[in-house]
């Protein structure tokens, strides 16, 4: 015993080292075991049972391919081994455990999580590139090589998922090609031969000649209001001020945003370039040019019909109005920003045209996010983030504002005719403005109203935003890029206004 103690004393360091080494081994072995056990597809899929996660993966090119290669869950959803694998695993694992034990899978809006933005937070670019190190393999097409070059030359803004969203989880509706047959499916229906004639300043229903499509227009009395928001309004941004007194002349405004039915009536009658010869009839449209076929599915696979039309460019919306004016003999156009806000307010100077303040509804507030929000009122009037499941909604899902207009503040954001400037209100020189039209020139146009993606703070009647042409065309692989369709803006559409004909008397 004494000898042993002596030995221990003499070789103390050695003993401590050996003991430490043994402990490490004992710890590392099960740790590695645990890491690999919790990294199998079976383990992942045992909890991730939501919405066909496993089925869509099995159908995807990552499993269902001729080469026999199977790309496992952790291959994409965690970074490569050398680049923070364990750290990311600990982070996602902790989040998943919390979700599994404290939340109900049915409460998640899985549909709304299937966007390129979110997908980028669940997958790792470095993991894509670990396997796909050569972006120019022998089999790639010229178009493919051009697209990969575009990606590499813009790698600070582009990600693999911009184009390859559905590589890991199959989506039958996804199409990465010019959609030649877009809008073709409409069968023969009874066609209107004439547009509606209006004889007084009252609501009317417009019929689009040569189509079976009609839509409701609401007469909006002229009046005076304060454009912009007061400085004490919650979540107000600087470009909403200073408030200006504005006089607006009477006009008609569409009850709802332009639907796919309406938009496709134009597309079907005018779209020419690149479309089938038989459908081209340029004489009839009097040289108002029509859009080229879109890339992929502009309706995002959410359905067309009465759902608001989306992803068309501002230019396309303006052309639509020109065409609509031509076929109906009236003057349709995009609303000015002032008209839009006047109509959205419905006579109210509060943040919303309904009860409640942004503070009550916004999930930007920490307490609201954790304690939950009473959405009963706001949910009746607006389609937005909290009630839309990440996609556009049918127009009649909500109640109208005091002027009889639906979803001004939500569903899809809407183009205005004005150029955008952060200083628009400041730069108006007059004391009282009459039908202001915004700056005389600019780069981007005003976009108003929140969308199905928006937090309640962005639904405020005074909230302003604008087109982001470059960003919204990021993944359009065509050269030059389309002037008709935004490849990366599925939350924007528009609403038409009609000018009051001169012969109509307004009481």
């Amino acid at each position: 015993m004494k000898r042993l103690i002596l030995l221990f004393k003499r070789k103390k360091t050695l003993f401590i080292f050996l003991a430490g080494f043994a402990c490490t081994l004992i710890l590392i072995y099960p740790f590695n075991k645990a890491v690999s056990y919790t990294s199998t597809d079976n383990y992942c899929n045992s909890c991730h049972v939501h919405d066909h996660a496993e089925d869509s993966w099995r159908l995807s090119a990552h499993v269902n391919n001729k080469s026999g290669v199977v790309v496992h869950c952790v291959d994409c959803h965690l970074p490569p081994k050398e680049e923070g694998y364990l750290k990311a695993k600990a982070y996602h694992g902790a989040k998943d455990l919390y979700g599994f034990y404290f939340k109900d899978s049915a409460d998640y809006k899985w549909e709304s999580k299937r966007t390129a933005e979110l997908a980028n937070t669940f997958t790792y670019e470095s993991s894509c590139k670990k396997c796909h190190s050569n972006l120019y393999p022998a089999t790639i097409s010229t178009k493919g090589a051009d697209s990969h070059m575009h990606y590499e030359n813009h790698n600070e803004t582009m990600t693999c998922l911009n184009c390859h969203m559905h590589t890991g989880h199959y989506n039958p509706n996804y199409q990465h090609a010019q959609n030649q047959s877009f809008g073709d499916e409409e069968g023969p229906k009874e066609l209107f031969t004439e547009a509606t004639t209006i004889s007084s300043f009252e609501n009317y229903v417009e019929n689009i000649p040569g189509s079976s499509v009609s839509f409701s227009m609401v007469a909006i009395d002229g009046g005076e209001f304060l454009l912009g928001s007061p400085e004490d309004e919650s979540y107000r941004r600087k470009d909403e001020g200073p408030q200006r007194k504005v006089k607006v002349s009477p006009f008609f405004m569409a009850e709802v945003e332009v639907s796919w039915d309406e938009f496709l009536a134009w597309f079907g009658q005018t779209a020419s370039e690149g479309r089938k010869e038989a459908e081209t009839n340029l004489e009839e449209v009097d040289a108002i040019s029509g859009a080229t076929p879109p890339w992929g599915a502009p309706d995002q696979g959410w359905g067309k019909g009465q759902r608001p039309a989306i992803t068309m460019s501002h230019h396309a919306a303006v052309q639509y109005c020109r065409w609509l004016s031509h076929v109906t003999g009236k003057t349709y156009r995009l609303p000015t920003e002032a008209e839009w806000e006047y109509a959205a307010r419905g006579g109210k100077q509060t943040a919303y045209p309904f009860e409640g303040s942004p503070k009550d509804y916004s999930e930007l507030s920490f307490w609201n996010k954790w304690l939950g929000v009473d959405t009963a009122v706001i949910g009746r009037y607006v389609s937005y983030k909290a009630n839309s499941n990440g996609k556009s909604q049918l127009a009649d899902m909500v109640k109208a504002n005091p002027y009889g207009l639906k979803n001004m503040n939500g569903n899809v954001a809407e183009f205005c005719s004005d150029w955008y400037s952060a200083d628009t209100y400041k730069n108006y020189k007059e004391e009282e403005l009459i039908d202001p039209k915004g700056p005389s020139r600019g780069r981007e146009h005003v976009v108003r109203g929140g969308s199905f993606r928006s937090d309640a703070s962005e639904l405020r009647s005074a909230a302003r935003s604008y087109t982001e042409t470059k960003n919204w065309l990021k993944t359009d692989p065509q050269m030059p890029k389309s002037i008709w369709w935004y490849s990366d803006a599925n939350h924007v559409g528009f609403r038409v206004v009609c000018e009051v004909p001169e012969n109509i008397e307004i009481k």
Partner: protein
């Protein structure tokens, strides 16, 4: 221990070397602050060996047996030990014969079954067990040949120009990036980048000898170049191929074919590619083909920086070939002299001396061989080189200038980078009927779309 010693030796060497260069720089007085001066290695300049190191035997396949192809092959063979010729290919049999004849003077031969002719000869050369391919056909063919070589995992030496249009340029960039992933070395025939005086001068300029580069001039003005008259029995296609140097769908025009060297040097010294081009050009004296015989282009490098680029192939005019870059502190001919703003020489390249002790005007190792030494050294000692994309971008710069002159319009970098322009017929065989477009007239639409029958 051994490793440590090596490290110390290396450190010592670096110390000594930097001392030496510091002293040298002081003596010449061209470098503002010698402490921060970057070494050639840090500047990404090629190693300047007298010959490639020993190593695995390398066999080269030559695709395109014309004048430059023959030269490139001989340059390759003289770059170091154990370098051989493995195969020859050309569209025309007598071209292959002439290379074999030339090789026989060096007691070298290529067996019959490694000599290929016809339009598909390139693929046969690539597939004939060679390690390196030398691409020296008219540039119209280069993108496809380069792609085929990379996909067959061959190291590549390719002549400039590397393409005649934007579609070709993008293909070359894609293949160059694929080559990088596959570890295949690529050297291009922009030999000024391997010419010792240019390299030494660049080192000075990159270390601030002329301050910040502001403007530049590039010029290649010479007499008329070779052309062939049509002979009886030739199809249209055969005539154009034999007289390729005068048809722009095959040559890219002479702003690509020769002037590209000067344009490449300006891009190199300016450290960027231009944003747009505006220019003139025309055809006065050329006897055959459809291309211009002069160009004058203003390349816009942004922030007021520009380069005036000119090239001409007309007899009895003032001639000259070279570059000039002007900076905030001085200017340089990019080759052997740097001047201050008063015209005093502040740096001069020391050329080797001849037998009588007088300085010569030639560098020690011909740049045409130096570039092959670089390629072989890269293959044998695992220092990677890939000049494909860099040369493609200078090539695209030249295309942007050419299109500016052809159309009379300003052409931007983004336009030319994404242009769908593709010259020449869709498919090509000896009997393809292809109406080469008329010489472009500025201010009118160019009729150069594919119209093969």
């Amino acid at each position: 221990m051994n490793k440590m010693k090596k490290n110390i030796d290396r450190r010592k060497f670096i110390q000594n070397a930097s001392m030496a260069s510091a002293v040298g720089a002081l003596a010449l007085g061209a470098l503002g602050s010698c402490k921060s001066a970057k070494t050639p290695e840090e500047l990404g300049l090629p190693p300047l060996r007298k010959a490639a190191p020993k190593g695995k035997k390398l066999k080269a396949g030559l695709i395109g047996c014309g004048h430059r192809g023959t030269g490139a092959l001989l340059n390759f063979l003289s770059a170091g030990p154990d370098l051989e010729v493995g195969a020859l290919g050309d569209v025309f049999p007598e071209k292959v014969a002439s290379v074999r004849d030339r090789l026989s003077k060096y007691k070298l031969s290529v067996p019959d079954d490694k000599c290929f002719t016809g339009l598909d000869a390139f693929q046969k050369v690539i597939d004939s067990d060679v390690d390196v391919v030398l691409l020296a056909t008219p540039p119209y063919f280069r993108p496809d040949h380069f792609k085929a070589a990379v996909q067959a995992k061959k190291h590549v030496f390719m002549e400039k120009p590397v393409a005649v249009d934007s579609v070709g340029i993008r293909s070359v960039i894609a293949s160059a990036r694929a080559a990088k992933q596959m570890g295949l070395n690529v050297v291009t025939g922009t030999q000024r980048r391997h010419q010792r005086d240019y390299l030494a001068c660049y080192e000075q300029v990159a270390n601030g000898a002329i301050g910040q580069p502001l403007s530049a001039k590039a010029f290649w003005n010479q007499e008329h170049v070779w052309f062939r008259r049509r002979q009886a029995g030739w199809t249209d296609m055969e005539y154009m191929l034999r007289n390729w140097n005068n048809f722009y769908w095959l040559s890219g025009d002479h702003i690509l074919d020769t002037h590209i060297h000067n344009i490449d040097v300006v891009n190199w010294f300016m450290g960027k590619t231009p944003l747009s081009a505006t220019g003139y050009g025309g055809r006065h004296r050329r006897e055959t083909g459809n291309q211009f015989d002069f160009f004058s282009i203003d390349f816009n490098y942004g922030n007021g920086s520009f380069s005036h680029s000119m090239c001409r192939q007309i007899d009895n005019c003032s001639n000259g070939v070279g570059e000039m870059v002007m900076g905030t502190k001085g200017y340089t001919n990019c080759r052997d002299k740097i001047f201050d703003l008063n015209g005093n020489i502040i740096w001069q390249y020391q050329y080797p001396l001849d037998k009588e002790g007088n300085p010569t005007t030639k560098v020690k190792v011909s740049p045409y061989i130096q570039e092959h030494i670089h390629l072989v050294t890269a293959i044998r000692s695992n220092i990677y080189v890939n000049e494909g994309e860099r040369t493609a971008l200078s090539n695209l710069t030249a295309i942007m200038g050419r299109e500016a002159a052809y159309t009379g319009k300003q052409i931007t970098w983004d336009q030319i980078m994404s242009s769908k322009s593709k010259l020449g017929p869709d498919k090509l065989d000896m009997n393809t009927v292809y109406d080469a477009p008329e010489t472009p007239i500025p201010g009118t639409a160019i009729k150069n779309t594919s119209n093969s029958h």
